[in-house]
Point group: C2
Chain length 277, copies 2
Amino acid sequence: MTKQQLIKQIKLKKSFLCIGLDVDLEKIPKHLLQFDDPIFEFNKQIIDATHHAAAAYKPNLAFYESLGSKGWDSLEKTVNYIRKVTSDIFIIADAKRGDIGNTSALYARTFFDTYDFDGVTLAPYMGYDTVSPFLDFKDKWSIILALTSNKSATDFQYINDANGKPLFENVLKTAQTWGTNDQIMFVVGATKAEALQDIRKIAPDNFLLVPGVGAQGGSLKEVAEHGMNNHCGLLVNSSRGIIYASTNEDFATVAKNKAVELQQEMEIYLRKFGLIE
Amino acid sequence: MTKQQLIKQIKLKKSFLCIGLDVDLEKIPKHLLQFDDPIFEFNKQIIDATHHAAAAYKPNLAFYESLGSKGWDSLEKTVNYIRKVTSDIFIIADAKRGDIGNTSALYARTFFDTYDFDGVTLAPYMGYDTVSPFLDFKDKWSIILALTSNKSATDFQYINDANGKPLFENVLKTAQTWGTNDQIMFVVGATKAEALQDIRKIAPDNFLLVPGVGAQGGSLKEVAEHGMNNHCGLLVNSSRGIIYASTNEDFATVAKNKAVELQQEMEIYLRKFGLIE
């Protein structure tokens, strides 16, 4: 998906919501366990209920991999189902891969060819070699970890260099030299909403994928105010707060209500910033 | 596997060789493609031919994932086959995962419970939260990227902090506070053999997993001289140089010869350092 198509999708849905499909057999409603593929059945119902309010879906691969080859089947069926229901939605493989050369090339092939993802989250520790093979795919995105929302993000991401610049700023700066802002997004945790202003100075034009709103405690209002740019430039993720809002038979309806609630708040900010009328 | 068991294995085999199973359908001998599962057939023959000369195997997960659920089946069969042939060998999931909290816990469950790996390679960017769930598993290992052998390792790993210490040194120091040297290994690229002396000052007791010998250009002699400690403390990986040494029907025999060649060189260093008689 191109940047223009992503922006069009956001304006059409009046939403920059990304729904995280972190699907765990132990957390889904019990009545789904009778299905052949409970994970896919859960996703299918969530997707049917929420796709009008979402600009993106983000399956977290750990949850699928933990089930072995069955989990990969569920993932493939999920991606194909999203494409069937709504062809223009942005689909992110939350994989946080970080390898080099031929290994990285294989990951790129896996996520962009074997599966039809639009973007993949990548860890920057090994530098350009990790990202390079992903940049060879047209209209596909590398989504690079910059500042994460977890407690121990401070272990390394905040280490200042000799000029007093923290590591995450070096990642933001260096990674922009690797590709255009039609190819490169950054992951920036929402629990650091005040840091978004500084990040926007360093990466004014890149899309930011912002996890951590909802269950992890970030404020959507602050994220929008500090992080939005003139083409929106934000995908804000919520996972548990939507998909596990109810664990009863009404889970899809409750998920829909939660997603629409966030979409409606996002609509206010999109209007306020003049991105929709 | 405990550290004592690993050292015992190294002394028994007179080898600290780790064989990387980076298995690509496009690179394996053509006559194997007639098998139901050519990847597993290739691995099976490689394992049969080489396990007497190796202390560890390291499947690189990207190669298996790129084949979807079939690849995960091949991986599972490979791990089970290694355990069947030789119960005491160390098996590493070269996954370079780096996620947090519940996601990381799922990865730990995948690699240590669903599959029976002894260790997993992990990226340090998100800090302690990435490694913590892996440390809960007894006799299992977190193998943390410190200094990698790729060209763009310089992008971030060599950024000096305010005290002039590069990022990889901060990773080596901080990660040692997370767990004992019975749980934590570090990945250190062999193309930086001269750096191994400095690394041994910072991490004297941890095992180091050293890729990059052979195809990537590192020297085994330098690695042994600069990196060995009084319990060996090294696992040196070779992948392509062994498994693709021949792409004809004799591939397993040629792989065996290449593995034995490295093992015999390793035996010299183990004897020189007084680790075997």
